[in-house]
């Protein structure tokens, strides 16, 4: 039908007029509600969102689905990360450090409108422990199945097997699912994994609207979210996270304006490329992701401290950081990030000095053998660091062979002291913001074959880190971690190079991004179009 046909009759003209009036009235009525209407934010992500189950997925690359559609008992925000009450309002710890009682917020709604209660938290913990995937690793050692209690609808009690000071810093990872909804969708005892991989059963700030495992997901702002949406403030109405595997396509898409954000750990040359674009802003923050060379301490000559110190003096820290990485990272001389509590501020670490390296080698007085370095294929920094290091080692008479492998092969080799190469350059990310995440896991006997990447064993270090887990007083724990970190650096159990900086590329129209090393700035409830 054409416009002429409508205007030809008076009746239709009246109708049009009325429609216009109704539309105008509706617009006026809706105006306050839409004042903050913000449209859709599109994010290009480096990992695929082929599984949305918060208890199956735990890698940093896929944090967006967990952090935006689900809520934990507490939540990490900002940098240095601080924990704020979230689904739980408060907690108490029993004097023996074994019982943690959380008081839940009342009136929290799941996306289907039902109320979240302590039964959902208990189900969540049992589901994680039974599935044994992703975040379960944080709890399997400390909580036994069937021990989590819900004395009333708003109280949850966790009973630990042994005192663990890090437990509190892991509760943000108890991402609560709607137990009734998930249980309705359990098939062949799969804990609802098949269903939850494509659906949403959370309370989070955004509720799933569309999911295409080959593309990504769209989530809509959840108006009834417990944290509320402050009137007068801006926010996104919808968020779209797409998986775009190719770095170049992500970068070009940012420049073209197809995407308003992408991951914050792009190669630095791409960051420099994006910096030149007027429509893009690069947000910077020191992260908590330490780059280091893990030593396989189980075989000679790595059992010799002078040999290890010689290696530490043979790495060109300044050359690597300033020339290769163009000063985009900060030197971090210990295994723990500089910007975290517990890291000694006066620790200097080692400097690049081949004479000192030679002197240490002489002190070692050992039979040298060719050593192997196993960088991660596809992560050029690890390969550059390895080649740089191998060249310097040659100058002090150590033959080094560089052999790159994909991460899944390297991680498999870590399982056994026999298959792990002599040295592996890699990063240790933040899974919970506690010093134990680094020094307590990488070098302790209890984590051999699991989170330890070094096969290092020292009774004194084990004692100190165990003690730091038993007590909850932060001042006392700081002293213990100070001691543990100094021990590792003094013993040269690895080469500690830098702490990563996060460079978050966002459209210059975006405001309100809150970066936290846990979640990498992908929590979108704070962000908005300016």
């Amino acid at each position: 039908m054409t416009t002429n046909a409508i205007t030809n009759t008076g009746r239709l003209r009246m109708k049009t007029k009325m429609l216009r009036m109704v539309a105008a009235a509706a617009a006026m009525f809706l105006a306050p509600a839409l004042a903050s209407a913000q449209g859709r934010y599109v994010h290009a992500n480096n990992s695929p969102f082929d599984n949305l189950d918060p208890h199956a997925v735990f890698d940093v690359g896929r944090a967006a689905s967990r952090i935006n559609m689900y809520d934990g008992l507490y939540r990490w925000v900002d940098n240095p990360p601080k924990m704020i009450p979230w689904l739980a309002e408060s907690h108490t710890i029993s004097p023996d450090g074994l019982t943690y009682t959380f008081k839940l917020r009342r009136g929290v709604k799941f996306h289907d409108g039902s109320e979240m209660t302590s039964a959902d938290v208990v189900y969540t913990m049992e589901r994680m422990l039974a599935m044994k995937k992703g975040p379960a690793g944080l709890f399997l050692g400390s909580i036994a199945p069937g021990t989590t209690q819900a004395p009333d609808p708003y109280t949850v009690v966790f009973t630990l097997k042994e005192p663990s000071a890090i437990f509190l810093s892991t509760v943000p990872e108890i991402q609560v699912v709607n137990s009734k909804l998930v249980q309705r969708n359990v098939k062949d005892g799969d804990h609802g994994e098949g269903w939850l991989s494509r659906n949403d059963a959370g309370t989070g700030s955004f509720a799933l609207r569309r999911h295409d495992p080959a593309v990504g997901f769209i989530a809509t702002r959840f108006k009834d979210h417990f944290y509320g949406w402050e009137p007068g403030k801006k926010w996104f109405d919808e968020i779209e996270f797409r998986s775009v595997l190719d770095v170049n396509t992500r970068v070009l898409g940012m420049i073209k304006g197809d995407y308003q954000g992408t991951d914050g750990y792009l190669p630095y040359d791409q960051i420099e490329r994006l910096r030149k674009e007027p429509n893009i802003q690069i947000l910077e923050d020191e992260s908590m992701r330490v780059f280091y060379f893990a030593f396989n301490m189980s075989r000679p000559p790595f059992d010799n401290v002078h040999f290890r110190r010689a290696l530490n003096h043979a790495f060109d820290y300044n050359g690597f950081i300033n020339d290769i990485l163009k000063g985009s990272v900060a030197r971090n001389p210990s295994p723990n990030p500089n910007n975290l509590w517990g890291t000694p501020k006066d620790i200097k670490g080692y400097e690049f000095d081949l004479d000192k390296a030679k002197a240490e080698l002489a002190k070692a007085n050992i039979q040298l053998r060719p050593i192997t370095i196993n960088p991660l294929a596809g992560f050029p920094e690890t390969e550059q660091a390895s080649v740089l290091f191998a060249n310097a080692l040659r100058k002090i008479g150590i033959e080094a062979k560089v052999e790159a492998s994909p991460w899944n092969i390297v991680s498999d080799r870590f399982r056994s002291k026999d298959t792990m190469h002599d040295m592996v350059p890699l990063w240790k990310s933040t899974y919970y913001a506690d010093p134990n995440n680094w020094v307590g896991e990488l070098f302790t006997t209890r984590h051999h074959g699991g989170r330890s990447t070094t096969w290092y064993s020292n009774p004194e270090l084990d004692r100190i880190t165990d003690e730091a887990l038993r007590i909850t007083d932060q001042a006392e724990r700081t002293k213990l971690y100070d001691k543990a970190i100094r021990h590792i650096v003094d013993e040269a159990v690895g080469i500690f190079v830098y702490n990563t900086k996060w460079f978050g590329p966002y459209s210059s129209k975006i405001g309100g991004i809150r970066f936290s090393p846990i979640g990498s700035g992908q929590e979108m409830r704070w962000a908005y179009f300016k």
Binding site: K132, L138, R242, D246, N248, G253, N408, S411, T419, G449
Partner: protein, 335 residues
């Protein structure tokens, strides 16, 4: 009857071919010292957690036992579950196949429509500047790495000229799939805007895939035409005073095409299916090529083997179709 015999024999050969393919890929993917269990369990996993998950997924059993169990499942049409997405591999592949087919068919059509006429022209004007130019372009088309070409096309057409989109299959988030072919769905809905958007998104990946395929077709067609044009029957047709146009497009091309048609099956496998892995990654095209890349990056055994079985099946079926077409182009083979 002879055609039915061709189909029948191909279908019989399908079984041992696929079995061999599965055995090869299964063994290679399982003997590589990569550990999907560690990747699934996460970096924070404890040694016990990894061991328990390994037992649950059956990776602690001997390889031959795992292989027999897998073959048993495949015989029932079950390619297993993706270790990461927790969905049946068949479901994941089915959802992505239309994207790859849409792109592959478009690329083959473009390659044929460009490659065959250029090959003929090149042969007819042998050793002319035009022939030299076509040969330079076709050799370059074969030599250029597709990921490089893809990025250059993106820079020129998407970034500089802004004629085409950078990536994806359609503007915005794709709608709920029906046939899975964006163009067919748009035509069915008479949504011309969506059709235009789908075609614009198809342009660059199609061009990237079609260029080496077209280059190969140019070379084959040129060689075929040159061989036929010097044959006795063409000499006879010339002597009979047939117009040159009729000789070339009716008699020479038909005889020359027999070799070209058989090559289209190979081209589909080598350039389109294999090329899709790179092209889908660069253009963020959610097809089975991108699925294969993600499976490989995460050592998702079931995904890798599942993709290979499907790629093998597609290759065999395309070659069967090509053989049937061949029998029409050259009826001698069914006599």
């Amino acid at each position: 009857m002879k055609r039915l015999a061709i189909i029948f024999s191909r279908l019989i050969w399908l079984v041992p071919t696929l079995l061999g393919l599965i055995a090869l890929v299964f063994t290679i993917s399982h003997v590589i010292p990569a550990d999907p269990v560690r990747v699934i369990a996460g970096e924070q996993a404890t040694a016990e957690q990894i061991a328990a998950l390994r037992t649950k997924l059956g990776f602690d059993r001997p390889l031959w036992e795992q292989f027999l169990a897998y073959i048993g499942k495949v015989a029932q049409g079950d390619l297993g579950m993706s270790l990461f997405s927790q969905r049946p591999i068949t479901e994941d592949l089915m959802a992505r196949l239309p994207a790859t087919l849409e792109l592959g068919i478009a690329a083959v059509f473009l390659a044929v429509f460009v490659g065959v006429p250029l090959g003929v022209v090149s042969a007819l004007f042998r050793n002319s500047p035009l022939d030299h130019a076509v040969r330079v372009v076709s050799v370059s088309g074969l030599a250029i790495a597709s990921f490089w070409l893809a990025m250059e096309l993106q820079l020129l057409f998407s970034m500089k000229l802004a004629w085409t989109p950078l990536s994806g299959r359609i503007d915005g988030f794709p709608p709920e799939p029906r046939s899975g072919f964006m163009t067919i769905d748009a035509i069915a809905d008479r949504d011309w805007e969506a059709l235009f958007s789908a075609l614009r998104h198809l342009a660059l990946p199609t061009l990237t895939l079609a260029l080496p395929a077209a280059a190969q077709l140019v070379r084959l067609t040129r060689a075929g035409v040159l061989e036929v044009i010097n044959s006795n029957h063409v000499l006879y047709q010339r002597a009979m005073g047939y117009p040159e146009r009729v000789i070339v497009w009716k008699y020479v091309l038909r005889a020359a095409m027999t070799a070209t048609v058989t090559q289209i099956g190979l081209i589909f496998g080598v350039y389109v299916l294999a090329g899709a892995i790179v092209v889908e990654t660069v253009f963020d095209w959610p097809g089975i090529g991108l699925f294969a890349v993600n499976s490989i990056l995460r050592s998702d055994y079931n995904g890798i083997v599942g993709f290979t079985i499907w790629a093998g099946l597609i290759f065999i079926l395309v070659n069967l179709i090509v053989d049937l077409v061949h029998s029409f182009v050259d009826p001698r083979i069914v006599r």
